[in-house]
Every structure is written in structure tokens, then in C-alpha cells.
């Protein structure tokens, strides 16, 4: 839908189409390079792609799997995108997801109750857990001037180990043959499944969050002030915008959203807490947000793409005898070409 020709002289053409074409070209180049890599290492790339298609976009089961994978990616992408509006970088979606999963699990195991009260309680606990983890990083920044990139990144590792302490220790299922899992959740703590598949009701959460984030960011005074702070924090402060409060709120909401991703993973997919519940999905979320230039609507597309790549990686592991991590090559290549194609001097999406 190019309207460039109809524009009066001196008006810049809309940027979106170019950005979109560039992104598509980047994905195309990455696919070509990955195909070459598969061929060079003695595999039949088109056979592999055919298998991937059948296992993902080409079947109900595959589509459901992409949806399941997309939920945590989309939520952790929002966790990066909301603070990014203010120029804050949250690389800690992964750790916030773990804390959210931990807090939601605590509710499922020790509070319980009927589904209509327990699920909202778990969601609130997940939100609080993620917000607490992100808030800690913000406190460090506020008090000690610790750069939030480093603190959120390193706190990811702490969060994973924190969960391990509980699943290997006090929360381990006594009837679980010594596996590091908690006991399975009661029915009241499980998100209902949809369409008789692995897809669960949690899929509505990221979609609702995207709509809400978009509306708040574009249609409210808050969103306007957030953009002002992202543009120039000092000027905003002098204009009387409570910058510190906005920053704290954005980071807490971002962390909370990532925490809800953790709640959805334990309640909708695993039905218990175990080590490695996410395995890097929070990182994919960060990349999805970054690829979308932190735009909450474009994030849906980039999250879908990364979910597709992630599911494909698991498939190739079984069908084409590739290590699952091989898909990281494709993600790396996509990013490489996207970064290469973005015009130099473009404001770094911070």
C-alpha cells in the first residue's frame, strides 16, 4: 500500500513500508545463507524445510505449538519494549520470567482454591515476582548508579539458580522419583487448553497486553510523557514530568509482564515448576522487541517469526539430525542482516 506518489512535495514518504521491506529482505538473506550452510554441511535443505513446514505452519499441531511458544516471547518482548520507550534497557526478561513462575508456583502449591480465584491470584503473584526482580535492578540504578543493562542481564543467572534452589530442595515432589520437579498443579491452577491442543487460554494475555500497551502509549498523556522522556529526559524533568516515577513504573510494569509470562509457562504448559522452564525464550523476547523497534504492534510479527524459528529448531533436531542450537545460527543471521540493512546513524534503539 504505497501512497508515495500521492504525497505532496516536501513530505517524507511513510517510513513503515521501507522498514518492512528491509526486514523482509533481511530475513530472505538470512534464509539464503542458512540454506547454503545446510547444503555445505551435507544436508538436503529443501527436505529439511518441507519437514519444518509440515511440523509448523502446515499442521494444526504445529500452529498450536507456535502459539504456545509465542506467548512467553511476546510477553518478554513487551517487558523490553515498555521501558525502552523511556530509554531504559531491560535485558532481564528471562530472569523476571523465572521469578514470576516461582511466585505463581508458590500460590498454586500453598494457597490453592477454585480456578476462578486461583488463576487471577497466580497471575498477580507472577506479575509481582517479575516486577520485584526488575525493581531490584532499578533500585540499584537509583541508589548506586548501577547500569541497568548489566544488572538486569546478570540477574537472569541469579533467577535461574534461585528457582533451582527450590525445585532441587524444599519444593521437590516427594513422589517424583527424585526428579527436580515440584508436584503437578491441581486442576484449579491450570490454564484451560483450547481447541483440544497444547494451546492454552494464556494466549489471550499477550494479545490483550499488546492492545493495552498500544493504547496507553499512543492515546494517553502517560504515553505522551513516556515518549517525551525517551526523547529527552532532562528536558522532560524541567517541564515538570516526574521522570523518576515514570521510569520506576515502566520498569515495574515491564518486569511484571515478563513475570506473567512465567506464570503462563508453569500454569499453561508445564503444570509444575522445574529447572529450565524458559531456556532463553526471554532472550528471544528481547530480540523480538528490538527487531520491532520496540513498537508493541510490530512485536506481534517479530515474536511470531522468532517463535516459528524456535519451534523449527526443535523439529530439525529430530528430523534432520541437527543440533537444536543450530537454529541460533538462523536467528543470528537474521539479526545480522537486519542490523546491516538499517541505515547507519539511525538512532540506536535504546
Amino acid at each position: 500500500m504505497s501512497t508515495t506518489g500521492a504525497l505532496p512535495r516536501g513530505v517524507a514518504p511513510p517510513r513503515l513500508p521501507t522498514a518492512f521491506v528491509r526486514s523482509l529482505a533481511a530475513v530472505g538473506f538470512a534464509l539464503v545463507a542458512f540454506t547454503a550452510l545446510l547444503a555445505v554441511t551435507g544436508r538436503d535443505p529443501f527436505d529439511a524445510y518441507a519437514k519444518v513446514f509440515r511440523g509448523t505452519l502446515g499442521s494444526r499441531v504445529g500452529l498450536a505449538e507456535i502459539g504456545v511458544r509465542m506467548v512467553p516471547i511476546l510477553l518478554t518482548a513487551l517487558a523490553a519494549a515498555i521501558p525502552a520507550r523511556l530509554g531504559l534497557i531491560n535485558v532481564g526478561g528471562e530472569g523476571q520470567l523465572y521469578l514470576g513462575a516461582w511466585a505463581a508456583t508458590a500460590m498454586a502449591l500453598f494457597v490453592g482454591g477454585p480456578i476462578w480465584s486461583l488463576l487471577p491470584l497466580m497471575m498477580a503473584a507472577g506479575f509481582a515476582g517479575g516486577a520485584f526482580w526488575a525493581g531490584t535492578a532499578m533500585l540499584l540504578r537509583h541508589w548506586r548508579g548501577v547500569n541497568e543493562v548489566i544488572s538486569t542481564l546478570l540477574m537472569n543467572y541469579i533467577a535461574v539458580l534461585f528457582v533451582n534452589v527450590f525445585v532441587f530442595g524444599p519444593w521437590k515432589n516427594p513422589a517424583g522419583f527424585n526428579y527436580p520437579y515440584t508436584r503437578d498443579f491441581d486442576a484449579g491452577a491450570v490454564l484451560p487448553s483450547l481447541f483440544d491442543s497444547r494451546l492454552h487460554a494464556g494466549i489471550v494475555l499477550p494479545l490483550a497486553a499488546v492492545v493495552l500497551a498500544h493504547l496507553v502509549l499512543t492515546r494517553t498523556r502517560w504515553g505522551f510523557n513516556m515518549r517525551a522522556i525517551g526523547g529527552n529526559a532532562e528536558a522532560s524533568k524541567r517541564r515538570g514530568i516526574p521522570v523518576a516515577r515514570y521510569m520506576a513504573a515502566a520498569v515495574l510494569v515491564g518486569g511484571g509482564v515478563a513475570g506473567v509470562a512465567g506464570m503462563v509457562e508453569v500454569s499453561g504448559v508445564q503444570h509444575h515448576l522445574r529447572p529450565g522452564i524458559s531456556n532463553g525464550l526471554g532472550m528471544l523476547g528481547f530480540l523480538a522487541s528490538w527487531l520491532a523497534d520496540h513498537n508493541p504492534v510490530t512485536i506481534v510479527a517479530t515474536s511470531f517469526l522468532l517463535a516459528l524459528v524456535s519451534v523449527s529448531g526443535d523439529l530439525l533436531q529430530f528430523s534432520a539430525d541437527l543440533p537444536s542450537a543450530a537454529m541460533n545460527v538462523l536467528v543470528g543471521l537474521i539479526l545480522f542482516f537486519v542490523l546491516t540493512f538499517r541505515a547507519p546513524g539511525r538512532k540506536a534503539a535504546a
Binding site: S324, A325, N328, L335, T340
Partner: protein, 156 residues
């Protein structure tokens, strides 16, 4: 008391080896950050160095070549970060994460057929006198050449 020393000494000995690998990565990052840049791809560079250093040593039977190949592989990957962040003005955090993922993937590809291989690593070179110090000497001065180079760099 004797047992406590044994435990402490054991912990120290166990810590020096893995610590030296991290120390080398830290030197690399310090050099990068002196230039006002940050390279989040260090993890990927380390994996490239480990994998291609190992593969080269298995193929050539020469440890020195392996060390060189490892350094070269890590450096080449870091060059990608430099290209993206400096030449293309890209966000350096995203560039670093991209490179880490890429390194993770490439090494799992390339290293796959070498999983069962083994190499004879660098031999320890006990320093005269110093290695005779109880516990400390055992832990710090009965190491290989690369460890001593790391000490020398630290003293710098």
C-alpha cells in the same frame, strides 16, 4: 585444621583453572571497553575459541596451532560486532546478542562430530621454588604456560 587446609587448597586448585578462562575473557572485554564500546558477544567468542581451537588441535595434533586458531576464531566473531556497531551504527547490545546466538549455533554445528574426541592439553610447568610453597604453590605455580601469561598480563 588439617582438613580445612585440604578443602581450601582443593577449592583454590579447582578455581584457578576455570578462573583463568574467565580472566582471559575479562581482559578481552576490558580492552573493548577502553574504546568506549561494549561487546555482549564475548560468550560467543569464547565458544568459537574453544570449539575451533579444539578442532584444530585434533586435526593438526599441534597445540600451539590450536591456541592460535582459537584466538583467531574469537577475534573474527568479534569483528562482526565491530562491523555492525561501528560501521553500520547498529545497537551494540543487539549486535552482541546476535553474535552470541550465532556462536552458540555455529559451534554446535561444527563441534558435533568432535564430541567424543580428546586432546592432550597443555602440560603443567611447575615453577622452581615457588611451586614448593604449600597449598598456594600447588594451586598457583603448578600450572600451564597460558596461566602464567595471564598472571603476567595481570601484573601489567
Amino acid at each position: 585444621v588439617n582438613e580445612l587446609w585440604l578443602v581450601l587448597g582443593g577449592a583454590l586448585m579447582g578455581a584457578v583453572g576455570p578462573g583463568i578462562s574467565v580472566l582471559y575473557a575479562t581482559y578481552g572485554e576490558v580492552i573493548t571497553e577502553r574504546s568506549g564500546r561494549i561487546n555482549l558477544g564475548t560468550e560467543g567468542c569464547m565458544m568459537m575459541g574453544a570449539t575451533f581451537g579444539f578442532i584444530t588441535t585434533v586435526q593438526t595434533g599441534h597445540l600451539g596451532l590450536g591456541v592460535l586458531a582459537g584466538a583467531l576464531a574469537g577475534g573474527l566473531l568479534a569483528l562482526v560486532v565491530a562491523f555492525l556497531a561501528i560501521n553500520r551504527g547498529a545497537n551494540q547490545l543487539a549486535a552482541g546478542i546476535a553474535v552470541t546466538l550465532f556462536g552458540l549455533g555455529v559451534t554446535s554445528f561444527a563441534g558435533r562430530s568432535y564430541v567424543a574426541s580428546s586432546i592432550h592439553g597443555l602440560d603443567p610447568l611447575p615453577l622452581p621454588v615457588l611451586s614448593g610453597i604449600p597449598i598456594l604453590g600447588e594451586a598457583l605455580f603448578r600450572q600451564d604456560l597460558l596461566t602464567y601469561i595471564a598472571y603476567a598480563l595481570e601484573a601489567n
